[in-house]
Amino acid sequence: MPRKTVEAHHFEALGTNCSLFAVGLPPGRLLEGEFWVRRMGARLTRFSPDSELSRFNASPGTWRDVSLELESLLRESLHAFEMSSGLVNVAVLRSLEAAGYTRPMAEGQPIATELRPCPLPRLPDVLAVRSGAARLEPGAGIDLGGIAKGWMADRLRDSLGSNALANLGGDLSACGVGPAGDGWAIGLGGATVLLRDQGAATSSVRRRRWSVEHHHLIDPRTGLPARTGLEEVSVVATTGVEAEVVAKTALLAGPDVAPAYCAAHTLAWWLSP
């Protein structure tokens, strides 16, 4: 099968590097994809007090109207909590702030704080979602983090035609057979693999780190930056958001549980201690 021309578009958004690829699509469509990412990012960031997420976090104790997108993401977060037996918990905002992660990395390294254990509440105990509305309990705060990126990558994949790949800060989602007909070649765990109608993601404590003990991945069992014996997990799963959730779960579960968990929930996996 002859190799087809790939349109590629790279940009910075969501505090990270993003790339969109498509076969047989005009470049303008990829630009539209960037605009959509920026619009969604502005609504879902926790760093802007005017974002929809920040306004939701700032009004606990009452049912608040939410957009279809935020409702979908909050439902996805509750699903991730169940799927991970509580290891993926988006009610992590207070722990991130306590660890010093209070501003985007682009604005400077967070300041390392004294770490004190404070286990996170169960997500279903602090977050409720119904059609068009959601309620957060006082004291809780939501950071959608990687779940939002994986979810957005899946939405982009669906909107960019039948042969496309979206990479939002390492959360990948692909559809179609790629430019050569055998899949989209992506880097995963030091090797190259081919994605076909699949998602991929890496969960790592090697990046977004601001001291030996401080990094962005919070263990909900302690409320502290995770130390599980694994530093990096990459997986291929059926969707981008599922890959994100499974990679994070495996990393937090640690080296004893991760291989069996990945074998049961992923299509390929990379474990790095």
């Binding site: 081919l194 890496t202 074998a263 990379w270 474990l271 201690p273």
Partner: protein, 76 residues
């Protein structure tokens, strides 16, 4: 007399059923064909590759490639 026979018969039946069950269970500790068995590495046709810094395991639906990747999962 009839009651004693009935009790003895019931007791014998119980003991026999217990003994046979124990024999069966101890000789069938694992049934590889049992349903609802979680996916395991040996059964999934997975391939494990050694790479610097970790291990990469590929299931049958993910193929390795030698071409240059267009992107990777390592942006964040």
């Amino acid at each position: 007399m009839r009651t004693v026979i009935l009790k003895a018969g019931a007791t014998l039946l119980t003991v026999a059923a217990t003994a046979l069950s124990a024999l069966y269970v101890t000789s069938h500790l694992k049934n590889p064909a049992a349903p609802l068995q979680p996916t395991v590495l040996s059964a999934s046709g997975a391939t494990t590759l050694s790479a610097p810094g970790g291990t990469l395991t590929l299931g049958p639906s993910v193929q390795p490639s030698t071409v240059h990747p267009v992107t990777s999962t390592y942006a964040s």
